[in-house]
């Protein structure tokens, strides 16, 4: 690719895809429905009832 063409591509496409990704992330982060899982995730590392062991499904007796 020629230098001029690279510059054109970087300055046009580069601008728009970065803006699009930024908008996408903000929408994802503030989508009201996602709040529940975010709150759950934030609390998950603090749960004192969780033993320091991998999760083990209760086996059928």
């Amino acid at each position: 690719m020629e230098h001029e063409a690279t510059v054109w591509f970087a300055k046009s496409f580069g601008l728009f895809y970065l803006i699009a990704m930024s908008v996408g992330v903000v929408v994802y982060a503030y989508w009201p429905k996602n709040k529940t899982s975010f709150d759950f995730a934030a609390q998950s590392i603090l749960d004192p009832s969780v033993e320091d062991k991998p999760y083990e499904a209760k086996r059928w007796q």
Partner: protein, 552 residues
């Protein structure tokens, strides 16, 4: 630790070590008198030592199935010890380098101890030895806890940890023999780079396989930061180290790039090493250990997501700010500068998020030196990212570039942010990992903290002063339009600051030595009450009372 391996894992370990030994032998034969030959011998000895280690326990009984119901923490334990050993080595060399700038005779007239060789030994030992082992150890710890899943197997974490440390050893010994690619923070030559490449891919595969086994629906934000660290470092390492060796029997290689493309590739690598090695991974640490230690969820989980993607999008483009006023096209320089300024948003997002998490837990910060390490780290993360964005502005850069201001900036980040968050995380994890009630001596943690803070401030203020004076002296003209100061006059003006910097560095080094001692004593002092994980944690929220949440 090796006895924890199953029979088939012990066999696999032997095969890997045998291949390593043969590679070392081939390097030693092909390299002959070249430094490659010495490195071949080191690789071969490492392989043979490993084989003896495995054979020693080969006929021990296999571990029982009960281990599968627990997290696999042995690699994390070793990584933490190795991180502290590398910290002591790297900081000792760093302080030696600092004193060399005051007293040049401290090279003792030897080639291996000249500034140009031990300076990269210092940077690699602290960044890759200390920082890298800290990252590998804590990432495997955090990955398992946040996924509530055990690592998929027991051999690949050892391959990553030990292979990585072999890389660090080849790097450090290579510099002393004069082996270098002359690319900053990517000095090791092609064969060491190949080793790291394999190790790093396995590291990423461990991450993916464990996440695939996770029992939590959401991948906790710390894992995203750790994953970005692993993935991007793989990309950077691969591209920047594309090179052609002179021959397979020679350590020297030539880069695939030349001229300004080489410079741009190097600083694309160099600044993203700062971004993804020294920032992203340590943010992963911060987003796990700081909330857990403070006993409070992260202030805004949403902000942590925005900060994460902001950092991954924007950091990639800032490398060109290292090349202001060079042959690099002006618009590329401006692009780097602009993205550096925008980077302030995600950086302060994370720094603010960390400090706001501590709101309501400041009494814990006062009482708990471990949490205080993390608090100082967050403050210096905010300070350094502001300073970095500011220094990336072309006109500011014209004053700061090539001066000690850059050195001061780097150390504000490396000592104030990276080392502080690592020490905090290590002090938090050691009692959890070795099932102790607390560290051997909380007083020594306090000593470490205050020595580190004193050293940090002494160092950074000395370098800010010297850097700005240096920059101003270089650009002072007299009435006839010529430079007022000769270069040697600027060097003489720096000497008091170099003394102060070396003293500050010694404080920081002394703190790390105390830290290593304290950790070793914590491990060796048995008979402390065994710790249920929650016991070492700050008081949990009273049941029924919801944690105070910010108004989101």
């Amino acid at each position: 630790m090796i006895a924890q391996l199953t029979k088939s894992e012990r066999q696999l370990a032997l095969i890997i070590l045998l291949v390593l030994t043969i590679c070392g032998l081939a390097m030693a034969i092909a390299g002959r008198q070249d430094p490659l030959g010495v490195h071949g011998a080191i690789v071969m000895l490492a392989g043979i030592a490993g084989i003896f280690g495995v054979i020693y326990v080969y006929y021990e009984p296999e571990p029982d199935e009960a281990r599968l119901a627990l997290y696999y923490d042995d690699p994390t334990k070793l990584a933490i010890i190795l991180a502290m050993i590398w910290a002591v080595i790297g900081m000792f060399i760093g302080d030696w380098v600092a004193w060399q700038l005051v007293f040049p005779n401290l090279t003792f007239d030897a080639g291996w101890s000249s500034f140009g060789r031990i300076r990269p030994a210092h940077t690699s030992a602290v960044i890759f030895g200390f920082g890298g082992n800290g990252l590998i150890g804590t990432s495997l710890y955090v990955l398992q806890r946040t996924s509530r899943a055990r690592l998929p197997d027991q051999i690949s974490p050892w391959f990553v940890l030990l292979g990585y440390n072999l890389f660090c050893l080849l790097a450090a010994t290579g510099y002393l023999m004069g082996v270098t690619q002359s690319k900053e923070y990517a000095e090791p030559e092609w064969y060491a780079d190949l080793l790291l490449e394999i190790v790093w891919v396995v590291y990423f595969v461990i991450y993916m396989r464990t996440l695939a086994r996770r029992k939590e629906p959401h991948i906790y934000v710390a894992n995203w930061y750790y994953m970005a660290f692993i993935l991007v470092v793989a990309i950077l390492h691969t591209v920047n180290n594309l090179a052609m060796p002179v021959s397979f029997g020679h350590a020297k290689s030539y880069s695939a790039f030349s001229g300004v493309q080489d410079a741009m590739t190097q600083w694309w690598y160099g600044h993203n090493a700062v971004a993804f090695f020294l920032t992203s991974g340590f943010l992963g640490m911060m987003y796990y250990y700081l909330p857990v230690r403070a006993g409070r969820p992260i202030y805004s989980y949403r902000m942590s997501i925005i900060s994460f993607w902001g950092i991954t999008f924007m950091y990639m483009w800032v490398g060109s700010h290292h090349l202001h006023y060079t042959a690099l096209p002006q618009w590329v320089q401006t692009l780097g500068m602009t993205f550096s300024l925008m980077l302030l948003i995600p950086s302060w997002g994370s720094a603010g998020n960390a400090l706001l998490t501590l709101n309501g837990a400041w009494y814990k910060v006062r009482d708990d030196a471990t949490l205080r390490f993390m608090m100082v780290a967050a403050v210096f993360y905010g300070l350094t990212t502001f300073e970095g964005s500011f220094m990336a502005i072309r006109s500011v850069n014209s004053l700061s570039h090539y001066t000690d201001w850059t050195v001061g900036h780097v150390h504000a980040g490396a000592l104030g942010w990276v080392a502080m968050i690592t020490f905090g995380s290590i002090y938090a994890s050691v009692p959890w990992l070795w099932k102790r009630e607390r560290m051997y001596s909380p007083a020594l943690v306090e000593w470490h903290f205050w020595l580190a803070v004193a050293g940090l401030f002494t160092y950074v203020f000395a370098m800010w002063n010297s850097g700005i004076i240096q920059g101003l002296m270089w650009r002072t003209y007299n009435s006839s339009g010529t430079l007022s100061y000769s270069f040697i006059e600027t060097v003489i003006a720096m000497k008091p600051y170099y003394v102060a910097r070396a003293v500050g560095g010694f404080f920081f080094f002394a703190g790390a030595v105390i830290g290593l001692y304290n950790i070793v004593m914590t491990i060796r002092t048995a008979g402390q009450p065994a710790d249920e994980r929650a016991a070492d944690r700050p008081v949990a929220q009273p049941a029924g009372v919801p944690a105070l949440q910010p108004g989101e």
